[in-house]
């Protein structure tokens, strides 16, 4: 049952509701339910955060290494270089998210126009 499995206008919305909204809100509702019950530093939450962080990290890496659209037409080394420059700028220049985006974009665009 993929996003395009059923050729009806409502199917993609149902897919988004179940695959996206329900799968996300269930954790928010669980948070309200549990509020006050779990300690922030309890070990099970550390494990949960580790798995969640690694999963999102995999998404990020795949977006850079196996991108889609116009980004796919740029060299992989340029994309990785732009991401590393942005992240390096973030670590070295005061942890600014905005600055890291500016640096990464500058490297990417310079690469596109100069290479």
């Amino acid at each position: 049952m993929t996003f395009e499995a059923i050729d009806a206008w409502w199917w993609p919305y149902l897919f988004i509701l179940i695959g996206g909204a329900l799968a996300t809100d269930i954790w928010r509702f669980l948070g309200v339910f549990l509020a006050g019950g779990i300690a922030e530093d309890s070990d099970i939450l550390v494990l949960v955060r580790c798995v969640a962080t690694a999963l999102v990290a995999a998404v990020i890496a795949n977006l850079i290494v196996f991108p889609s659209g116009a980004l796919a037409d740029t060299p992989a080394a340029l994309r990785v270089g732009a991401a590393l420059s942005g992240f390096g700028a973030y670590l070295v220049l005061g942890r600014s998210v905005l600055l890291s985006i500016v640096v990464a974009e500058a490297v990417l665009l310079a690469g596109i126009f100069l290479l």
Binding site: W27, L55, A70, L98
Partner: protein, 251 residues
């Protein structure tokens, strides 16, 4: 930022709806901030990604309203692109959204009073995502306790609304962009997460999990494209947790 409330008149009774509306508006104003600007930039990137995946404008705007958390949406779009089925997509999204539970657990005690209705908290929890949560924890101490639910309602709903507009705007103009600009837009989302995910790690194990996930993600994708997210999350997450337990023993 002042954390002391001036010793002024006592807060009005909770039945005072005008007061609640005023604090709702103050929450809405508090939403307009630098973190919100950065979030809007990353929604530009998300909209470009959704467009590339074949998601229509109304579907993307709908997704913004009902899912809201950006990691969930990026994972969902990733699953749509990979042609994953509904169950696999829901499972991957659910795994990426687990992080919302501890955030809600941390926020609710800040907003709750003995008279707060439970459904209000369930409704407001939908607005919890990294940016609204960070903004709320920074500013909510300056809000009278009885007004905090109204305030967070204003803050959260305004952020959602702004980004629904951002997604719409990107869909309207993106088709006419030159390839270099499209490429630049598509790079925003990974860079935003690369930095904000690193910065939001509560313990060192979070950074370890992130580094392992970044390296393992593409490698696992080469061997098992359909299961790469779940497999990487499990392997790298467990390894980082193992490191956490091990480093605490030896410390």
């Amino acid at each position: 930022m002042t954390s002391e409330r001036p010793a002024g008149p006592l807060p009005a009774p909770e039945t005072d709806n005008l007061g609640n509306f005023r604090w709702f508006l103050r929450g809405a104003v508090a939403a307009i901030s630098l973190p919100a600007f950065i979030l809007a930039c990353s929604f530009v990137g998300f909209a470009a990604l959704a467009l590339e995946a074949g998601v229509t404008m109304s579907q993307a705007v709908f997704m913004t309203a009902v899912v809201w958390a950006l990691p969930s949406k990026v994972v969902l779009v990733g699953a749509i692109m990979a042609g994953n089925g509904l169950l696999a997509a829901a499972f991957a999204v659910a795994l990426s959204a687990v992080r919302l539970t501890p955030m809600v657990v941390a926020l609710v005690p800040e907003m709750r009073t003995p008279r707060t209705r439970l459904w209000v908290l369930y409704l407001l929890s939908h607005f919890v995502a990294v940016t609204s949560w960070v903004l709320a924890l920074e500013t909510i101490r300056n809000v009278p306790r009885a007004r905090r639910t109204a305030y967070y309602g204003g803050l959260g709903s305004t952020l959602v609304f702004i980004n629904m507009c951002v997604v719409t705007a990107v869909y309207l103009v993106a088709r006419d962009l030159p390839p270099a600009a499209s490429a630049a837009l598509l790079l925003i989302t990974p860079i935003y997460f690369l930095t904000s995910l690193w910065g939001s790690a509560r313990e060192k194990a979070g950074n370890v999990a992130m580094a392992l996930g970044l390296v393992l993600g593409p490698i696992v994708h080469l061997f098992a494209p359909g299961a790469s997210l779940l497999a990487t999350g499990a392997i790298a997450g467990l390894a980082a947790y193992g490191w956490h337990v091990w480093s605490r023993r030896t410390a």
